[in-house]
Amino acid sequence: MSAEVKVDQILDCKGMSCPLPILKTKKAVESLTKGQVLKVLTTDPGSKNDMSSWAKRTGNEILNVEEGSGTFTFYIKKTS
């Protein structure tokens, strides 16, 4: 990403398995206001596809996904 994304809240789901990262992401996104960004860290390899399915169904936007040394970092913008 060219510009740094302004993160409003960080959620650490490292070490958690399905479905906890999704359940906690949902809860965290609900606590935000529209337009704010949540940064989520996970280590569950399934979470990459799960997060995109979740975002598609709930109408939230994944701005970016970073992968590195077993960790996935999602930047999710609350749009719904």
């Binding site: 070490g15 958690m16 398995s17 399905c18 479905p19 906890l20 999704i22 569950d44 169904r57 709930t58």
Partner: protein, 157 residues
């Protein structure tokens, strides 16, 4: 967006079979579904007070059951094997950060998943309404049919 609906019939009371209904229900709720779980027959154990964390795995009749060393099928029927298999599975779940059944039940209730206990099963098995955890409704097949009729996803587990 009109709300999607899902219903699940949870009919089994072993530890392994308690997971899928609760994982799917909580995930569906997180994806803005209106979710109903109907607990019937052995599935009723999942919502009996004090049972959620005591559900067990049957080590026999399951060739896919992972064992530290391969053991003959018949050994699984020996006394104590059920406890060993259950403890082993629970430690594997814990190691991989999987929620416990009681945690998933709490998360389900918190996210508005409707839980229904099958009254007929309760009568047959001598289970009283006071034996069931709080926040559960009681009903029968018609109650499930009512929810299922306009649900997009209906699962029997």
């Amino acid at each position: 967006m009109s709300q999607n609906k899902m219903t699940i019939i949870a009919s089994k009371g072993s530890l392994d079979m308690a997971y899928p209904p609760l994982i799917l229900a909580t995930t569906a709720a997180a994806m803005d579904f209106d979710v109903t779980i109907f607990f019937t027959f052995f599935g009723l154990d999942i919502i009996k007070k004090g049972y959620a964390d005591k559900l067990k795995i049957a080590p026999i009749g399951n060739p896919a059951m992972p064992m530290p060393v391969p053991i003959p099928t018949l050994v699984g029927s020996l006394p104590g094997m059920e406890a060993i298999a259950t403890a082993m599975m629970k430690s594997m779940f814990k190691k991989h950060g999987v929620a416990t059944i009681s945690q998933l039940l709490d998360l389900a209730k918190e996210s508005g998943v409707k839980l229904i206990a099958c009254q007929m099963t309760m009568d047959v098995m001598g289970v009283k309404q006071s034996d069931i955890i709080d926040g559960v409704e009681f009903g029968g097949a018609a109650m499930w049919m009512d929810s299922a009729t306009d649900a997009k996803i209906n699962l029997f587990i």
